[in-house]
């Protein structure tokens, strides 16, 4: 079966601008990312700040133009489309943002914000629009009478629901969820995650779920890809990747994730140093400057490893077969 979304060697570099900065190297935000996503599936994209995960989401939707690479969505070559064709395609691909406070127009009543997509794509008119907006608000757990209110009258969790209603209004097949719960309190986060899961079931939606929290991703994604400095360093079925990570960075991420279990004997791996600047990524394997693999060698500094199947996942590490893992994932 053809994948709903297929991304091939996506690259996005930002040049460091200004008339007087010609010599500055570009910021290599996304540096060759490929993956596929099927119908009704969720792919998690995990990594820390600056790894490029948000850029991947935005570039696929052409909220930013890619530097190189291809993306195929429902058979169409997204980056080759002209304006009108792109607009039609955008009905099918939507996004929910991280910041519930910045992503809604403060001067627009929320009913109008949700209706905007319906009107732009001429999906309905007049009273039918109002009816659809009411139905959408209910579907995301909000009282339809709230349509008359302004964003500032709502809490963070409610605004996030409004953002979801807005994305659903145009009946998409695919939604990029860009850190949708990171800014929310724990109990609200759980409500929104359940809502996203229910909507996926009911509407057959596919999600690219971008997050930095592995536990959240585990909750929602069947497959996950881990990013570091613009590249995918490991990817696979979520449970397999968590049970048996093969890339040292994945091991470190898992090790650092706080677990609400005081009896956990989890041995922590604390990485040395900081993430290098994406405008000056290390040569060869981008992770080698912080890598703790005992077999780390000269090869890591000169040869960029490719993603390859190892122990149940695909990892980009020359010595992935022998990556040390602290014992202990309680079961």
């Amino acid at each position: 079966m053809t994948a709903l979304l297929s991304v091939v060697d996506l690259v996005k570099h930002y040049s460091q601008g200004g008339l007087f900065a010609r010599k500055a190297p570009p910021v290599r935000a996304v540096d060759g990312v490929s993956f596929e996503l099927g119908r009704g599936e969720t792919l998690g994209l995990v990594g820390e700040s600056g790894c490029g995960k948000s850029t991947v989401g935005r570039t696929i939707l052409r909220l930013q133009e890619p530097t190189a690479g291809r993306a195929f969505f429902e058979g169409a070559d997204v980056f080759a489309l002209e304006r009108d064709a792109l607009r039609k395609l955008r009905r099918r691909m939507q996004i929910i943002f991280q910041d519930p406070y910045g992503s809604l127009n403060p001067r627009m009543r929320i009913g109008n914000a949700v209706a905007e997509g319906i009107e732009i794509h001429r999906l309905a008119q007049g009273a039918e629009v109002t009816r659809r907006v009411a139905a959408l608000l209910e579907e995301v757990g909000l009282d339809p009478s709230y349509a008359r209110r302004y964003p500032h009258e709502f809490s963070g969790g409610q605004r996030q629901r409004i953002g979801i209603a807005r994305a659903l209004a145009v009946e998409p097949a695919f939604i990029v969820c860009d850190e949708p719960v990171s800014a929310l309190d724990v109990s609200v986060q759980a409500q929104v995650l359940n809502l996203l899961a229910d909507l996926q079931q009911r509407r057959g939606l596919s999600y690219l779920f971008i997050a930095h929290d592995l536990a959240v991703v585990r909750q929602v994604a069947q497959r996950v890809a881990v990013m570091y400095l613009g590249r995918i360093v490991e990817e696979g079925v979520t449970e397999a990747l968590l049970a048996r990570p093969s890339h040292p960075y994945t091991v470190a991420l898992l090790s650092a994730a706080p677990e609400p279990d005081p009896a956990s004997t989890k041995q922590r791996i604390v990485l040395a140093g900081e993430v290098p600047s994406p405008s000056r990524p290390p040569p060869g394997c981008a992770f080698h400057t912080r890598c703790f693999h005992p077999e780390r060698s000269e090869r890591c500094r000169t040869e960029t490893p490719a993603l390859r199947p190892v122990n149940g996942t695909r990892a980009a590490c020359h010595y992935a077969e022998t990556t040390p893992r602290p014992d202990s994932r309680a079961g």
Binding site: S49, A190, E274
Partner: protein, 329 residues
């Protein structure tokens, strides 16, 4: 064990509509012993940050610590201090780390100077000595090449580095208590691990007590001796960490645990708490959690006091006094 901090019936109010005062912290009591870590856990608006600011008398100007509140640092009554004597405890008896290092560091001063400022304020030493101590502190918090980094401005450092600088500033005057308000929330998880390791090491080396304020139960599990859970301006459950995690007893605490996605165990649908946190001016009468509670105790129209469940475990819930037989929640 020597007691270093005692807080009793702390109440902080703000102006409400029509000249009334609204409580944001409503009768909070806890203690801290030398070398101990107490975690204060809760979601936005529960009053945990305001509680910590009260300890240093840093409540924003419109807020007022109400009479009847007690904050005692050893023998010192913090609420009776004024002017110079108040300044002397800030940094020297209690140090504080804030959540967002970028807005807590002065952008126009070099980080070394910001550390030295604390040293000079509390110790009568020559500038040369203050400088040397500042560099030693930067080294102690794990900043590489500390002598030259001391000359950096905050914007030249990464988030993790800035947080380390904040820790250095907080420790500069060698306080007996460190208040850490969401010290790692703004940081990536691998950097968070580094910062928590620094805090552990420094606490052990200096025998400091730590008041750790956070919403993240995962951080609490690894490092707090005791935990107090706050909701709507009150502590609703308090226990030794192992006991709280083994037997969360207040329905709010249980709701929190049910809301957290986990990295191990089966992946199950999350069971969030229904509804939302009420704002301080709209707190229900009686038990404040009642509208969201899956069990509504017959006495819940009356505000429950803190009731003992066992020797080191208390909760603000009538269930402690008279449990109700329920089917498994």
């Amino acid at each position: 064990m020597s007691r270093v901090l005692e807080v009793d019936h702390l109440r902080v109010t703000f102006p409400g509509a029509d000249g009334t005062r609204v409580s944001a912290v409503d009768g909070v009591s806890f203690t801290l012993d030398r070398g101990e870590t107490l975690a204060l856990v809760g979601e936005s608006g529960c009053g945990k940050s305001l509680t910590s600011l009260s300890l240093l008398r840093l409540v924003p100007p419109a807020g007022r610590i109400e009479p009847g509140s007690i904050i005692r640092l050893g023998e010192t009554d913090v609420l009776a201090l004024e002017g110079e004597s108040l300044r002397r405890i800030r940094g020297r008896r209690i140090g504080m780390i804030f959540q967002d290092p970028m807005s807590s560091l002065n952008p126009v001063f070099r980080v070394g100077d910001q550390i030295a400022e604390g040293i000079l304020a509390h110790f009568d030493v020559p500038k040369r000595e203050a400088r040397a101590r500042a560099i030693a502190l930067l080294k102690e918090v794990g900043i590489p090449d500390p002598a030259s980094r001391a000359g950096a401005y905050p914007h030249q450092l990464s988030g993790g580095m800035r947080q380390r600088v904040m820790i250095a500033i907080a420790l500069a005057a060698e306080p007996e208590i460190l208040v850490a308000d969401e010290p790692t929330t703004a940081l990536d998880v691998t950097v968070q691990a580094q910062i928590l390791e620094v805090l552990d090491r420094l606490q052990a080396a200096r025998g400091m007590a730590v008041l750790l304020i956070t919403h993240d139960l995962g951080i609490v599990a690894g490092r707090a001796d005791r935990v107090a859970v706050m909701y709507a301006g009150q502590i609703v459950e308090e226990a030794a960490t192992a006991a709280l995690f083994a037997r969360p007893s207040h329905p709010y605490t249980q709701g929190l645990f049910n809301s957290i996605p986990k990295l191990s165990g089966p992946v199950e649908r999350l069971r969030p708490i229904a509804g939302t946190v009420p704002a301080p001016h709209a707190w229900p009468a009686g038990c404040r959690f009642r509208p969201r509670c899956p069990i509504v105790h017959p006495k819940s129209q009356q505000m429950p006091p803190m009731l003992a469940l066992s020797n080191e475990h208390r909760m603000r819930c009538w269930l402690a006094e008279s449990p109700i037989a329920t089917d498994d929640r």
